[in-house]
Amino acid sequence: MADVVVGRDKCGEQRLVSLPLSRIRVIMKSSPEVSSINQEALVLTAKATELFVQYLATYSYRHGSGKEKKALTYSDLSNTAEESETFQFLADILPKKILASKYLKMLKEKREDEEENDNNDESDDEAES
């Protein structure tokens, strides 16, 4: 069971967490309203982050299309963010990618819709007076 909890570094020594605590601490402190962080909370957050990385990677791989090719790609991750409730908090930072041509087409259609709405508004005004 201990193997699940401790990792091994280059020297083969057992270490509780691999992620650097100092960096984790910087990220935590950047959160507003956080005054101080007890050392145990720091260690647990670092450990939780490692578990999270493992979970995100394996989940995305299992549910992704890259599985046949034995690869994990960005789209596997963005699909996870969109489709899984647990990972939904990542949706904004892992947006789905579309071809530039498709995006430009979408923009164009949106602009046309807005123009149409403006025209309708004007005719409404005229009708009222």
Partner: protein, 147 residues
């Protein structure tokens, strides 16, 4: 204090290693995927911290503690992390206890050494005589036991 953008990122080498160890052998991870997971990890830390902080504030405490983090995991629906986290916490506490005891022992040894050094200065000759007598006594004891 202004943080530079890179300070809020986690080291690529460590992230890559964690991913590789989690996935089956031979799976290729694109650079984009790695970078995305790294960003996701940073966001996770922020989300977890904010959540844990809510629990601390509810408890009218200003310092985040271990139970706040565990409660946050529950809240974020990462219950699967709770058991391994509790095990990690136990291991960490044992390690800390061990370190504390080791440093207390060192201090005791140091104090003892300092005391005996002061005594030695005035009693060197006496000790040598005592040692010789002790050795003789030990030899006598051994002979008796053999008989």
């Amino acid at each position: 204090m202004a943080e530079r953008p890179e300070d809020l990122n986690l080291p690529n080498a460590v992230i890559t290693r964690i991913i590789k160890e989690a996935l089956p052998d031979g799976v290729n991870i694109s650079k984009e995927a790695r970078s995305a997971i790294s960003r996701a990890a940073s966001v996770f830390v922020l989300y977890a911290t904010s959540c844990a902080n809510n629990f601390a504030m509810k408890g009218k405490r200003k310092t985040l503690n271990a139970s706040d983090v565990l409660s946050a995991m529950e809240e974020m629906e990462f219950q699967r992390f709770i058991t391994p986290l509790k095990e990690a916490l136990e291991a960490y506490r044992r390690e800390q206890k061990g370190k504390k005891e080791a440093s207390e022992q060192k201090k005791k040894d140091k104090d003892r050494k300092t005391d005996s050094e002061e005594q030695d200065k005035s009693r060197d000759e006496d000790n040598d005589e005592d040692e010789e007598r002790l050795e003789e006594e030990e030899q006598n004891e051994e002979e008796e036991v053999d008989n």
